[in-house]
Symmetry: C2
Subunit: 243 residues, 2 copies
């Protein structure tokens, strides 16, 4: 018998974290493990997510989910797509009873991604098996979360070319090479350091600080910061049509 389905809405969060030390762009995933009668039913990783409380906005839900997992608030957040295929049954065995009728629970998820620094997240007291994985070396993933991650990553690749969101992944003070390393990690390309350096230094919103790197055993690099104020002020749409 084919059961009717009722709709449910959740939010899933793709949490990107950059580890500046290892120059690795990572994803925060949650371990899922279920066994019954010595048989392993589920053994994989999933995104963090939760259903939408009735009085929350979708953004509220995403913010809450991130906070519960990492303790962090005020991180860069972007809603990038809704996934709602009819076969998205989060718990296929579960049946909901309404008015003596049985329903499957069909879950549509609104997917967000976050950009933050791995060093800002403390996983030591974490009880749900959360762990970081490099985006290019992910474990087995549950549900359709592989696809969700893929689409989030594509969106990130595109957006980082035209908007200064890259600085959400970096500490407040960074070197030019930090930025280059990050672009190379995200895009999987190599960039000429001399040209990239000149390009960034000439931007008015990339501000040289009175500080240099400390604790390095070579010439310490100049530290810079990104000024969102200046960026926003000087940024007028130039409408470059590049089709």
């Amino acid at each position: 018998m084919m059961l009717e389905k009722i709709l449910n809405i959740s939010v899933d969060c793709v949490v990107f974290g950059y580890d500046i030390t290892s120059k690795s762009l990572n994803l925060l995933l949650i371990k899922r493990y279920l066994e019954s009668n010595n048989e392993v039913l589920v053994d994989d990783y999933v995104l963090t997510g939760y259903h939408v409380y009735t009085h929350e906005t979708l953004d509220d839900t995403a913010t809450r989910v991130l906070k519960e997992l990492t303790g962090l608030t005020n991180q860069y957040k972007k809603q990038f797509k809704a996934f709602g295929n009819p076969d998205r049954l989060m718990r296929p065995k579960d049946i909901i009873w309404i008015e003596n009728e049985a329903f499957h629970l069909r879950t549509t998820t609104i997917a967000y991604y976050f950009l933050l620094k791995t060093e800002d997240v403390d996983l030591t007291n974490n009880t749900n098996g959360a762990a970081w994985f490099p985006v290019n070396d992910l474990p087995e993933l549950g549900f359709d979360h592989k696809q969700i991650i893929q689409e989030a990553y594509e969106d990130l690749k595109e957006k980082c070319l035209s908007e200064p969101i890259i600085f959400k992944l970096l500490p407040d003070k960074f070197t030019i090479n930090d930025v280059q390393d990050l672009y190379e990690s995200i895009l999987g390309i190599e960039i000429d350091n001399r040209n990239f350096r000149r390009k960034l230094i000439n931007k008015k919103y990339i501000i040289a600080l009175d500080e240099k790197q400390v604790g390095v055993s070579k010439k310490p690099a100049q530290l810079y910061m990104f000024s969102k104020d200046i960026y926003d002020k000087m940024f007028q749409k130039n409408y470059l049509i590049s089709i």
Copy 2:
């Protein structure tokens, strides 16, 4: 008494249509009018939309909604955002009864936009008061549809700069000036015709036909077509970082 809300999912469609004759970018909206005891309760326009059938994908729903309104299929379609504030009560007076408990129906909508030609839509037999409105001269809008339209338009403005979606709004055969007029309509800017012309003509995927305009009382313009095949083949990501 504050009722609990239950969740519902719908799809709303922002239908952009370009009228090449009047050079106007339009939106297809539906008249909403309700009165009771000679009192006008609702008198405005809304987007077309419908709730998601349980066995449909979200894309299916959008396709169905467009077909029911215009008869058209295979038009350019893009899911651009989900809107799900808790105060989105589509029919505030309506109450749903489940297990002898009363619920408000909270509707989350997955918003799509379509790009097509007004001339492809036949509204003469239409019964639901659908009509075209220039994007810059919209009537009073119901629900939060003004915001949804605004965000769709922003997305379109951005996307048309980097992807050749503009040709979805034009007939198969067009002049260079047609393309320029459309860009000027969408972006609200003026473009130097000579440079724009050269730029486009030099693209390998803008193909000159063996035809010229007919029925014009001046020098007939060369007709062109857009080759998606060539575009896709020659388009390799160049990763231009332009922050």
